[in-house]
């Protein structure tokens, strides 16, 4: 039983294949380049005039967990205005900005995505986040668990415990919460906010006497030493504050040369020049990324229109709450582990700040030379809903389209940006890198993001069109593990993905001190806090794929 895909132009950057015409076979859900003996072709797809890529991977998209549900309930008018009616295969749902779980899965698959990673899983909320993600069909999922503002880690740092003790705690948290990476949100800042502090810079001591630099340093080392593929995923300090690029550069330096991933870096690339005291520091940030091979970043591009910002960064969300549109918002603490802020926001092209934010995001895309180290995201839904990715790809691939869009934004913002002078146009090969090969590489998904022999048959086929936005919005075929799930941009078969996790080794002795901490301070006991693999499969409803760690 084999499926033959013939005549398509293959873009597989992991194997340096750039538009070569080549036949592919799908056998038992895997890709192969030659038909094995004893296999019969049961289905052939003529892909002449088509582009073939691996299924796309979104490494930073808020699709599960408490804050997304708060956003859904807060933006009921959006849910109400965008009903998605059920079909003979799909369940009904609603929402454009924050679609319901099932709709999220369908919309991602309809754009050719086959894996999505939720970047803010609170340890105590991990169970609920996994349940939501288990209800998100079509795509593989995974989560990054939040550390860096929790009382337990801060008390460890206060006591100046050894790096190996921190490594054990980090590994334990990854195991207990069934996640694939560690994320830090405004290291120490969310904790400081609870003590009425409204800012915390990278080298400033918080209420616990710890600087964000120390937290990032210890955690990035822990992630590195445990051998977790995905580097520490960092939401840097001072999000959205003019002049914050200095904190961003300091955060990069805090990793001491160890791998570090800076997320939605557009929001962290602002200077203080000009009449408005708000300017682009994209050049400084891009230069820093180009110069430091240990640094990767996703952009978090904004798009104009209504959206909602959901973040664990209560300090910065509180700072922005006055700009809520419509006027409703929430900021809360969650079990002294982290916080959560949800604020609806409308990005306007006639607003100087919003227009410049839009330009800064694109400037970063165009100035970071290595597409393996910059990722295409809108920080869904914070910058824009994920459904705007095809539009973003067109902005990157088509200079005249980009310049036309640039020419209608706020005039003063145009004067403050050098976007119009940038000639670079992304190629299909580079788009394939930043949406497929690079995310798979940085997440350690060895069988995804490429079309080599033995890869999972997650394949997206686009019919070539002049308008790349149309092309990327409606793939002609999408395969998930060899099953044809989307034809001409519409879901024809519903499948469920797995949850990708890592399980680094650790000393079980860490549970002794954790057990006391849980008994004294937490609302649930330690055994109930942990999510076992059996629970993931039998109760939560998602298979688990464990990726190896190579301790260093």
């Amino acid at each position: 039983m084999a499926i033959k895909l013939t005549g398509g132009e293959i873009y597989d950057p992991a194997h340096q294949v750039d538009g070569k015409k080549q036949d592919l076979y799908i056998v038992d859900g895997k890709v192969t380049h030659e038909l094995p003996d004893n296999e019969k072709i049961t289905e052939t797809h003529d892909l002449s005039g088509c582009i073939v890529m691996a299924g796309a991977i979104d490494l930073h998209t808020h699709i599960g967990g408490g804050k997304v549900n708060i956003a859904r309930t807060m933006m009921l008018e959006d849910e109400h205005a965008h009903p998605h009616h059920g079909t003979h295969v799909c369940r009904s749902g609603n929402g454009h900005i924050v679609p319901s779980t099932f709709s999220t899965g369908y919309r991602y698959a309809e754009m050719g995505y086959t894996a999505c990673f939720e970047p803010a899983v609170l340890p105590v909320n991990a169970r609920q986040a996994h349940m939501e993600m288990a209800d998100t069909p079509m795509v593989d999922k995974g989560g990054y668990v939040l550390l860096g503002n929790d009382d337990f880690l801060l008390s460890m740092l206060q006591k100046n415990v050894s790096q190996s003790a921190i490594n054990d705690y980090v590994a334990w948290i990854l195991d207990a919460s069934q996640c694939i990476g560690i994320k830090v949100v405004n290291a120490g800042g969310v904790h400081a906010f609870k003590y009425n502090q409204r800012r915390l810079d990278v080298d400033e001591s918080g209420p616990a006497g710890i600087t964000p630099r120390e937290i990032i340093n210890k955690l990035s080392r822990a992630v590195h030493e445990l051998g977790v593929s995905h580097p520490l995923h960092v939401h840097a300090s001072n999000l959205g504050i003019p002049g914050n690029f200095k904190s961003t550069l300091a955060t990069m330096a805090a990793a001491d040369g160890l791998p570090i991933h800076l997320t939605h870096i557009q929001f962290h690339s602002y200077g203080t020049e000009g009449d408005y005291k708000f300017s682009s520091a994209a050049c400084e940030i891009a230069e820093a990324i180009n110069a430091q091979p240990n640094v990767t970043a996703d952009v978090g591009q904004i798009m104009f229109g209504q959206t909602i910002t959901t973040s664990g960064d209560t300090m910065m969300q509180y700072f922005g709450h006055e700009h809520a549109h419509p006027k409703k918002w929430t900021v809360m603490d969650i079990e002294c582990e982290m916080g959560c802020g949800v604020i609806p926001f409308k990005y306007r092209d006639k607003s100087f700040v919003n227009a410049l934010q839009w330009a800064i995001g694109l400037e970063i895309f165009l100035q970071v030379n290595d597409p393996w180290r910059v990722f295409l995201t809108t920080d869904h839904p914070n910058g824009a809903p994920f459904t705007s990715y095809p539009h973003l790809i067109k902005l990157l691939m088509n200079r005249s389209f980009r310049n036309d869009a640039f020419s209608i934004i706020h005039e003063d913002a145009q004067k403050m940006s050098n976007l119009a002078s940038m000639d670079r146009e992304y190629s299909l090969y580079e788009i394939a890198i930043m949406t497929r090969a690079a995310p798979a590489k940085i997440l350690g998904l060895t069988s995804q993001g490429h079309l080599g022999k033995g890869a999972s048959a997650n394949i997206t086929v686009y019919r070539k069109q002049d308008d790349v936005e149309q092309m990327f919005a409606k793939p002609t075929l999408v395969f998930k593990n060899g099953t044809l799930i989307v034809r001409d941009g519409e879901v024809i078969e519903v499948v469920t993905g797995v949850t990708h996790v890592v399980k680094p080794e650790y000393d079980m002795g860490v549970e002794k001190s954790l057990s006391k901490y849980f008994d004294d301070y937490q609302t649930i006991s330690l055994p109930n806090f942990k999510i076992s693999t059996d629970e993931m499969i039998e109760c939560i409803g998602s298979e688990v794929e464990v990726h190896p760690c190579t301790p260093k």
């Binding site: 807060m74 008018e77 009616h85 059920g86």
Partner: protein, 274 residues
């Protein structure tokens, strides 16, 4: 001119979104055009003609909807000025939601959110209404922002939730939390009223025949008043063909309570005296 009549055959397996009817009325569709509109019902899409029998075209402004059942939601959604819809039978949720000047008359009962976020026009219900009459569409910050809702029966809880402007007239009883989170406007009835009326009201008027049960402590008794403007209000209330005509046109003595002081306290609950 003969009226256009739409008759529901009652054969739907799931709830039906009736916004197609407003579309047909505002776009003046012919019966043939309307019959071919597709309608999502459960996980299928079917044509309007399979569920509704339409006689006449939507070229005149008055439409009768017959055989209505509580499965039909969004009847009369956003109808503009001049459009008139007469419904026979019980209606579903969101009757007359976002009404923009049209008139909807229901000879039957309605479910929740009737007249929610309406801006202008008139809804007359010759039966009872469930919860959130004149409230806000879920997620919206304002309820009814203009126009009149007249109910010849009882209403449920949260009547006039987040109400911004306009009048809600109820000849019978009103449930709990009447006028909750009210921003402005007027709610009046002739029967009993449930618990915690005016909870979180900022401004606006509740004009009631008797004290609500469990009046919140955040309302202040301001004594008896002789309010001249009530004569004008009564003139407005008595202009509709309803039991409100029984109120004496010169009545204006009320006991006044101000509240809800937890959110500013500029609202008033007026209780008729004598």
């Amino acid at each position: 001119m003969t009226n256009t009549t739409v008759t529901f055959n009652g054969l739907a397996s799931a709830r039906i979104d009736m916004r197609w009817l407003s579309e047909a009325m505002t776009q003046s569709y012919t019966a043939d055009q309307t019959n071919k509109l597709t309608l999502p019902v459960g996980n299928k899409k079917i044509e309007v003609g399979e569920l509704f029998n339409i006689s006449g075209n939507f070229t005149n402004n008055t439409v009768q909807l017959e055989g209505c059942t509580p499965k039909l939601d969004y009847i009369g959604h956003a109808l503009p000025k001049g459009a008139q819809l007469i419904v026979t039978g019980d209606c579903g949720h969101y009757l007359g939601a976002q009404l923009a000047g049209g008139k909807v008359t229901i000879i039957g009962n309605t479910l929740d959110f009737a007249g929610c976020s309406m801006r202008e026009g008139m809804i007359e219900v010759k039966g009872n209404c469930a919860d959130y009459l004149g409230g806000a569409l879920p997620g919206h910050k304002k309820g009814i922002a203009g126009g009149t809702i007249l109910v010849h029966g009882n209403t449920g809880n949260f009547t006039g939730d987040l109400m911004r402007r306009g009048i809600i007239m109820v000849t019978g009883d009103i449930g709990d939390y009447c006028g909750s989170r009210m921003i402005a406007g007027t709610i009046t009835n002739l029967g009993k009223i449930g618990k915690q009326a005016g909870m979180g009201m900022r401004r606006g008027t509740l004009l009631l025949p008797e004290l609500p049960e469990d009046m919140a402590s955040t309302f202040t008794n301001c004594g008896r008043h002789n309010l001249g403007y009530l004569t004008l209000l009564l003139h407005q209330l008595r202009s509709h063909d309803s039991e409100f005509k029984s109120l004496h046109s010169m009545r204006r003595r009320v006991q006044k309570y101000m509240g809800d002081t937890s959110v500013g306290g500029l609202g008033e609950i007026l209780i008729w005296i004598g």
